[in-house]
Symmetry: C2
């Protein structure tokens, strides 16, 4: 029948891959409800029926994209969080570095996630590696901090400072607070500043 794990794998992968790529693009840009199957077909430049032929339903296709996205996300974070030999500040730096790069390439990405998170779709809970994440070296380091407030704040601050600029980008740019060309440079600057700020909070 359809995809991927079949025995002979004789299929030309391009159609299936094109649907996936198109789905990634459109779902990310418009969200689940805002995406029409016909949009995906058009983006992939294939016949409408092929979407259902390869993925059964819009819902199933969405789950594939979402699963793949979360997997990637958790994988990336885990690799950074698990390192035993890096300091907390270094981990924050690595996070900033990695995600600024990623978000500069995929500006719609944070909305996509936020969107699904708040639509009741608990994208992480269904995922295997989640425990790994929340018991990682990073979380141990955070928990061991000597600060007179709940150390979870540090996590919130890190991700808040990291993600918000990308969510607010249109506002910042359309109102002349940040010139379009300037945005990338600002984000590069943040790569170095975020760990400094975080260090200031805990030091």
């Amino acid at each position: 029948m359809a995809a991927g794990t079949g025995k002979k794998e004789k299929r030309d992968a391009s159609t299936e891959e094109r649907i996936l790529a198109a789905a990634r693009t459109v779902f990310t840009k418009k969200g689940y409800a805002g995406t029409k199957v016909r949009d995906i077909a058009a983006e992939a430049d294939i016949n409408l029926s092929l979407v259902n032929y390869y993925f059964r339903s819009k819902e199933k296709l969405f789950q594939v994209i979402m699963q793949e996205t979360v997997q990637q996300l958790i994988g990336d974070v885990s690799r950074i969080f698990d390192k035993e030999e890096t300091s907390l500040e270094e981990k924050v730096g690595a996070l900033a570095d990695h995600y600024v790069n990623l978000l500069l390439k995929n500006p719609d990405f944070p909305l996509f996630l936020v969107n699904e998170i708040l639509s009741g779709n608990d994208i992480f809970s269904s995922h295997a590696k989640k425990e790994t994440l929340f018991q990682s070296h990073f979380f141990k380091q955070i928990g061991a901090l000597k600060v007179n407030y709940n150390p979870v704040h540090i996590i919130m601050n890190t991700f808040g400072m990291l993600v918000l600029p990308f969510l607010a980008r249109p506002i910042l740019q359309n109102n002349g607070i940040v010139k379009p060309a300037e945005f990338k440079a600002l984000m590069e600057e943040r790569k170095k500043l975020i760990p400094v700020w975080i260090k200031g909070m805990i030091g």
Copy 2:
């Protein structure tokens, strides 16, 4: 015909008001595309046709809600930003105080905005008072800062630290990082901490 400004204003306001309240709720929770006119009618407990009777179309109704929302938002921020007599740190404190309260009451609110911002709908640009905002005392204070980086970072950090916890709340709670009962207390804690952190960044 419809609403509000008409001459005689004889209409029982309750139906129109109920539609507006329902629309606020449903649009905020599900976004524009995810909202069905029938959802709004059901939430308001009125006949489906009345939505179009009072507001012409789903699109128009949405614009009313969006306009009212942005107006409120800009108004609140302006009141804080414009104060000549408060320090930068005090303004951040007032912001945190006001918006933590607001977001605790309306958990879906940040997503709603973020959603529209990134769907190309530049909610601020169409609004009159926007210049006021970006030329406010707050922005002057920010611009006058003696820091060796672009002062816009401070704005991003403030809003990032303020908003992200509400966007990430489901993740935090569903994974035991923050217990549901604990969340409110954490946010109250943040009211005081955010201005301290910001002060640390600029001082």
